[in-house]
């Protein structure tokens, strides 16, 4: 007896619409950020649109809004069909959809307002973190509910990728969100300095792995065989590369912290596993490309397959480059430069973007029961998108090599050839212009796609509930023959499968992080390193609010080229009170780890007021609002208390003296500024940020 049921196409359509809308928004913000790098005035004088604030908006919008919605679109479409069942609950689907959009809207509001945790790709503050957790669990219940009520005994490989995605993202998100709230939109991470950095990059790296990679591999394993109308090249390879990929990926995070103050054994571990990662990554790419064996004639005519082929190729390039960048010698040059930005965009624009477009072009005509409006426009999108990626990536590679090498160049006398950081930046500004052109081309392609898809949907009608029929599963399963084998059993038991995936990813995470948390010798303390004064602490939070960390690192690597330029290299013990760490990952401006005492207070004042007056040609925007806005000192007590809870040794009762301490220090700075003919009231924000900048790195500086 077969059962009749209906696939829910409406939820797939909704996620598709969200994918396109947020894609355009996220990419437009990205283009604006890219243009600010050669025309800083493009923040239009507003504090809410400076690079530091819209850069996280761009990354969050593209990762969690564009790619996130595309994942749910692909999962909701393929999961139902692979399991021969409608999604577990229409209500949960709806909650999932609207909840996720609400989270994105809250990100769009809070990030420009400066509410940020400063952890890259995890910037959203704690109430939104909780909302993400709830919605993610809703997604999980809906997915596992569907798996449980399925009509197909075995779980196809795509579903394992979805399960691994669900379980790992849950673990990553929770571990990287342990924060102590100070107020509704301000919190401090439980971890500090090196530990915080390790957790963040364990998260950051695996967000790439389990948000941008595994769900897309799952989608590739479903949609590519459908598009090419032939099964995947090697199913065995898919099993092997699945387990290897999720096992290895989780260990590789520390490659984001090479040559930093992270203990060297953790760095080495990250390097080794990063190099190994090339094998399972390429296993997936090769399996995808070879699925098209004998179907290459289709690729020539079908824009959908073209997108898939270039997407897979971009995946192959990015996953070859990743391990290469994890080699210390290459990382020494590439880190902090635009090379990394080029690398991630090959992945984001090529792999995630193109796979999403390919799937949209395939899926929309099917659920709307009509052919695609224009194949020509799709082909145009493919070509302008591909050229866009090239025009985006090549200039940035060039910029990365150029600047990375310029930073390290010495004269014959042993002096830095380019002692002024700005000189190395001005050299690559033309590349920033070209990059924006590439990005604009890519965005034009997406807009053309949107037009094409709107026209398609107008011509057809959504088949909201697609009829299907299948035999129900018998209540008791009798294993016969090879079905008794372990992996065959696994494929029938989703919960066991999830637990096993969880164990696999936890092994790596624990071996990597435990020693840094438990063995004291991994972070030697330095007695001269003292907690921040209340004013400096407030200034530090302004530094976080303004997103200074987007452009300025605070981590001097132990190279002569860096110690000559910035001063003594950074030590793990210097960061023990840094909740959160602010090492940064990109130097659009110079490192600030030893900024303290380098310039006068007046220099900083004038520089923040108008950077170009102090550094002609600088692309830093003016921060004049810091001079007009009053520092909010009502939070001081809560901040001191929170820091003490986290282990920062402020004396008991200090919180009550904190504000008078703060006022005194502020008055001293204001008085010093007056000497240089700068008149500003001591209660303004700029005083706090100057206090913080003047403190940076001074604890271990010889007086």
């Amino acid at each position: 007896m077969t059962e009749k049921f209906y696939y829910d196409n409406k939820i797939v359509r909704n996620f598709a619409v969200a994918t396109i809308v947020w894609g355009i928004i996220g990419m437009t913000v990205g283009l604006l950020a890219a243009m600010q790098l050669f025309k800083p005035e493009l923040n239009m004088g507003s504090q809410y649109t400076t690079f530091g604030r819209i850069r996280p908006l761009h990354t969050n919008a593209v990762i969690f809004a564009f790619v996130g919605n595309a994942i749910f679109m692909g999962v909701y479409y393929s999961l139902q069909r692979l399991l021969k069942a409608r999604m577990f609950s229409d209500m949960l689907s709806k909650i999932h959809f609207w909840g996720w959009q609400l989270i994105i809207v809250s990100a769009v509001i809070t990030l420009p307002l400066g509410f940020t945790s400063s952890h890259e790709y995890a910037e959203l503050e704690w109430p939104i973190d909780i909302a993400i957790t709830v919605i993610w669990v809703v997604f999980g219940i809906n997915m596992f509910g569907t798996i449980i009520k399925r009509r197909e005994q075995h779980m196809y490989v795509a579903i394992w990728f979805y399960i691994a995605t669900f379980v790992t993202v849950a673990v990553l998100h929770i571990v990287n969100s342990f924060q102590l709230p100070i107020s509704l939109f301000k919190s401090y991470y439980l971890y500090a300095g090196v530990q915080d950095a390790l957790v963040q990059w364990w998260y950051g790296h695996n967000a790439v792995a389990f948000f941008l990679t595994t769900p897309y591999l799952g989608m590739m394993y479903y949609f590519l065989p459908k598009m090419a109308n032939r099964p995947v090249y090697s199913y065995k390879l898919s099993i092997l590369h699945f387990w290897s990929l999720i096992f290895i990926y989780i260990w590789a995070g520390p490659h984001h912290l090479l040559y930093t103050s992270l203990p060297s054994w953790a760095q080495s571990l990250g390097v080794v596993f990063s190099i190994m990662l090339i094998a399972p990554s390429w296993g997936g790419m090769i399996n995808g490309l070879l699925t098209l064996r004998g179907a290459w004639d289709k690729v020539r005519e079908d824009a959908t397959l073209k997108f898939m082929v270039v997407g897979l190729t971009a995946y192959g390039m990015a996953t070859f480059e990743g391990p290469m960048l994890a080699l210390k010698q290459i990382n020494a040059i590439a880190h902090y430069t635009d090379w990394i930005v080029a690398h991630v965009h090959v992945g984001a624009l090529g792999w995630n973007g193109f796979l999403t477009f390919g799937i949209l072009y395939w899926l929309i005509p099917r659920i709307y029961r009509t052919p695609l409006y224009s194949k020509k426009l799709a082909a145009f999108h493919f070509w302008i998108g591909t050229l866009g990626i090239i025009f985006y990536a090549v200039p940035l590679y060039f910029a990365g090599f150029t600047q990375g090498l310029m930073w390290k160049q010495f004269t014959e006398d042993g002096m830095l050839k380019y002692p002024n950081f700005l000189e190395t930046l001005l050299q690559i500004i033309p590349m920033y212009v070209l990059r924006a052109v590439g990005g604009a081309m890519y965005l034009i392609g997406v807009i053309v796609m949107t037009y094409n898809i709107i026209k398609t949907t107008r011509a057809g009608k959504l088949l909201a509930n697609e009829p299907a029929e299948a035999q129900p599963l018998s209540k008791t399963y009798e294993a016969v023959g090879s079905d008794r084998k372990i992996h065959r059993i696994l494929e029938r038991k989703p919960m066991v499968f999830m637990v096993l995936s969880l164990i696999v990813i936890l092994i790596g995470g624990m071996i990597e992080m435990m020693p840094t948390f438990t063995i004291k010798s991994n972070i030697p303390t330095i007695s001269s390193v003292k907690p921040y004064s209340p004013l400096e602490l407030q200034g530090r939070d302004l530094y976080i609010r303004e997103g200074c960390v987007s452009c300025h690192s605070q981590m001097i690597r132990p190279f002569r080229s860096e110690t000559e330029r910035y001063g003594e290299y950074s030590k793990a013990g210097e960061f023990v009170y840094d909740h959160p760490f602010l090492w940064g990952s990109k130097r659009i401006g110079p490192d600030l780890a030893r900024e303290g005492d380098k310039y006068s207070n007046a220099w900083h004042f004038n520089h923040l007021l108008d950077p170009q007056t102090m550094s002609p040609g600088s692309i830093m925007p003016p921060y004049e609002w810091l001079i007009n806005q009053k520092l909010d000192t009502t939070t001081t007590i809560a901040k001191i208390n929170a820091m003490r809870t986290l282990g920062v040794p402020y004396e008991l009762g200090f919180e009550h003296k904190a504000n008078s301490h703060l006022n005194n220090q502020a008055k001293e700075i204001a008085a010093d500024l007056r000497k240089s003919n700068v008149h500003v009231q001591s209660d303004k924000e700029i005083i706090a940020i100057i206090a913080y900048l003047q403190r940076l790195g001074t604890d271990i500086k010889a007086k």
Partner: protein
């Protein structure tokens, strides 16, 4: 290059070797599972996306 790399690991080889060992063991287990899988089942599994009645 390799010498430099190995020198940097000193005092921590135990982590590295344990980690690699765990992975090797795991990899061999997965590989062994693959070896004993039956061809007809593999074929069945790999054709699942094509059997969902949606073209």
């Amino acid at each position: 290059m390799f010498k430099q790399f190995l020198n940097q690991v000193d005092g921590s080889q135990v982590y590295l070797i344990t980690s690699l060992g765990i992975f090797l063991l795991f990899f061999v287990m997965v590989a062994a599972l693959l070896l004993v899988m039956k061809k007809d089942k593999i074929k069945y599994m790999s054709e699942l996306p094509l059997k969902d009645n949606v073209q």
